[in-house]
């Protein structure tokens, strides 16, 4: 049971709002120690996992392009573009992005969009502009909230889209685990049954986006909205 101490550390660390990176590292260390691994083995396990998945950091090569474009006003342009589209509301815009992200991930195109390459330069400024076009005079805190929702929408779309794609690590993991318990399940079945979950995630997050929009419009001192 002691190996479950990692979970307690994660919960406590997040509740106390410590730096998530440090919390996760502390939790992993504690779990390894509780399981009887020595420190060297734990560090080696970190190293192997990190090196095997370091491709996730490749996406940062887009930063010079994004930096160049932002210095030349890409965010402003994305804003003015949305301001000109009639009927572009905060909730609709983010829900469209959610759908697009889920659909792309479902066919395996997980790295096409993401926080560095689409959310920060395009989706977040567009979402802010859509709220402003609805008559909301955004405070700094509201801006931050919209940006956070734009980033979260990307997460939800990716997470509840990629499981529909066959050749993804999580499906192979589930298959292997269930096989260990004597259930032999075709990967295709995982894919098919990820679809209702994906639809539910779209509806739920879409609903949250509506709530966000309503909250923004109802905030004190705001206009009537669209």
């Amino acid at each position: 049971m002691l190996v479950l101490i990692g979970i307690a550390i994660i919960i406590a660390g997040f509740l106390l709002r410590f730096n998530p990176l440090l919390v996760i590292m502390a939790s992993a260390l504690a779990t390894g120690l509780a399981a009887g691994l020595d420190v060297t083995a734990i560090i080696a396990a970190f190293g192997k996992a990190f090196n095997d998945t370091r491709y996730v950091s490749i996406v940062w090569i887009v930063l010079p392009v994004i930096g160049l474009l932002e210095a030349y006003g890409l965010q402003q342009h994305a804003r003015s573009l949305i301001g000109r589209i009639k009927g572009a509301t905060l909730a609709r815009l983010l829900a469209s992005y959610l759908l697009l992200r889920q659909a792309m991930s479902a066919v395996g195109l997980t790295s096409v969009a993401g926080h560095p390459q689409t959310v920060r330069p395009l989706v977040a400024p567009m979402a802010e502009a859509a709220a402003e076009a609805q008559g909301v005079a955004l405070s700094d805190a509201q801006r931050d909230e919209i940006r956070a929702y734009a980033a979260a929408t990307d997460n939800v779309g990716l997470f509840f889209g990629e499981d529909i794609f066959l050749a993804i690590g999580s499906i192979l993991l589930m298959k292997g685990l269930l096989e260990g318990y004597g259930y032999v399940i075709e990967p295709l079945h995982f894919s098919v049954w990820a679809i209702p979950t994906a639809i539910a995630a779209f509806l739920l997050h879409g609903f949250r986006l509506r709530l966000l929009e309503k909250r923004m419009l109802r905030a004190p001192g705001q206009g009537t909205g669209a």
């Binding site: 990190f50 090196n51 160049l68 560095p116």
Partner: protein, 186 residues
Amino acid sequence: MITLGFVYVLAGLTFAIFAALGLGDRSNPKRFGNAAFWGLLALSMLAGDRLGDFGNGLLVLALVAIAGTGQIGRAPGGEVPAGVQAERAARYGNFLLVVALIIPAVALAGTFLFKWVPGLADPKQATLISLGIGVLIALAVGMARLRPSRGGGCSTRSAGRRSCRRCSPASARCSRSPESAKSSAT
């Protein structure tokens, strides 16, 4: 055939440049943290398979220590003024959007191309390889038209700051690294 190894080298060299430029930015109090973080990440990309599990583990601990204790950050006031950005947006508007969309478009097209035409690139890593190619194309197109020069590109920035070196790629890079690190880690 293009493999993921090529993309690792591209990323490693890019991050090494981030580290060198970050180190050279004397106006940034966190320049050593920035340089160490990107330098270690460059090392991981270029030589990760030769460091061994324990070596990589120490590298992870160092990255977490640097990022977790807030040693990464950008210099204050490094952004291009909003007025200048708006002026440039009015001038270059849709061109910027096209360059931004080159990256996902090439990633998408390349993914299909490399799967249909065998032998060009490792089909298992088609999207990441295409992403790398997309970045190179977008950067080339953007630089060719916008031509940010050390003086010209950022001429309107406040006096005394080391101008364009930080203004184009680096300003976005520094402001984003800690957040990106967290979101990628989850």
